[in-house]
Amino acid sequence: MGTFSLLGRLFGAQVDQAGESLVGALVAFDPETATQVDRDALAEKIQDVARKFAAAKQDYDKEQNDVVVQQKQLDEYLATLDIMVGQLERQEISQAAFDDFFAGIEESQAQLAQEVEEAAEAKAVKDELDDILKILTQQLNDFDKVTSKALRDVKLAESQVEKEKLKAERQAELSNLKSGLGADSTAVKKLQEIAKKAKIDAEAAKTVREITAKPQTQAEKMEAMMAQAKQAGAPAVSTMSAAERVAALKAKVKA
């Protein structure tokens, strides 16, 4: 999965409700662990080839050593043969011994040719394994380069997601603060609502009280008014002159 599609999914996850599980999956998916598994597999393969290479090198060294040894011995045999020719002429050695030795040289020559061939084959195998080893080692280096970049990208993406989240949270906080500046604070609104409801209730109660109160006759009303006036020690309003009313008022103030 490319970094950008991963990013897309990450951001998608924020809006999408189903994205929740994706974010969860991302948290569970550790790219370092996942790439380490791949790297280990590659490293193991390198180890395997390196072992084969070491064995092939040992094989080649042995074959090459055989060639050197065989060549050295063959040279010695040829030098010996010169002496033996003289010994045979002087009849110091038997023809059979000479023939045996001669046959031995021929056998050694044949063996040497074979050893040379085997050494060449061993070298080819060794060189090929060496090439494979070099390629695999290069692959591991490339892998490390690519994965470290990919890991950096993923980290970058993750931090971007974090940043976006923070940004979104800040935005939400800011808009909350802004709405708090207006008149319609929830708390105030609630209080107003309570107050309004209380006012209605009070009005209603007043109305109910008035309706349920006992109605007074006109005469009773007059009687009550007269009693109130008498109680105040003042004449009834309608029977007093203006001067009398002023004097009465002045007397009330003084008192």
């Binding site: 040894v69 011995q73 010695e76 010996t80 110091e92 045996d100 030795f101 031995g104 050893e115």
Partner: protein, 259 residues
Amino acid sequence: MNIFSYFSKLFASESTAQDAHLPLKINFNSTVTFEINPILSAMTHGAMIDVLLDNLKVLSVKSISSIKIEGMDNKKIYRFYFNKEGDRKRLFLQVMSDSNNVDNIDEILFCSSVTEPPVGEEDILFFLGDNESGLGEASYSFSREDLYTFLSRAEVDKRLGDADGVEYTRVEPEQDFMPAFSGEETVIFDAYGTTGESRRVMNLMPHSRALTDTLFEELLVAFWVTTSKNGNEITIEDQLPLAEYIFAIKLERINIKVI
């Protein structure tokens, strides 16, 4: 691990083959064939090794031994004897390898030897390298007369030519004296180690002589005694020390076929 646990096996009466995992994969069932050319080549150049070349084509192992040299724990010497036990002349292959890896071979020597008891106390002191003289000196020589006791006159004359004798040089010949090696040789006569011998190697000293610029003959002089046989200790009085002259040619693995 010592695979020649001959004594312990003997007393535990276990029957485990003791000749497995030996250098060159040789055991008591092996038939060993040697290329005659390196040996004949050395003999033609005057080597004193004594062997009938026709016999080299089919050799069977009569006894096997391992030698532990004191102070040399990382190496072990193995010997495959082709002669009958008790023969004065011995024929064997000596292989030195890593103690813990018999496939890592340092040296293969094809050896023929002659044993003889020391004559008198002077001889014993000589082979013991007593007082920094005798075995352990910078060189070891044989006169023509000495050689006549090992080989037929005709063979000696052919190999010696006009020379009076042969001289073999020890390693680091600039040192006047060098104490010889000592150790323990454990021999088994059968695959299960039910019969065998323990030998105390009082002295063992390698020397060498150039036959050509590139070809060398080795001489190992040994002084040893059998200390026990088939698990029975031999009392000191009955122990017979032997001097042994081992003439050897270095072989390569490719010169040896083991079937």
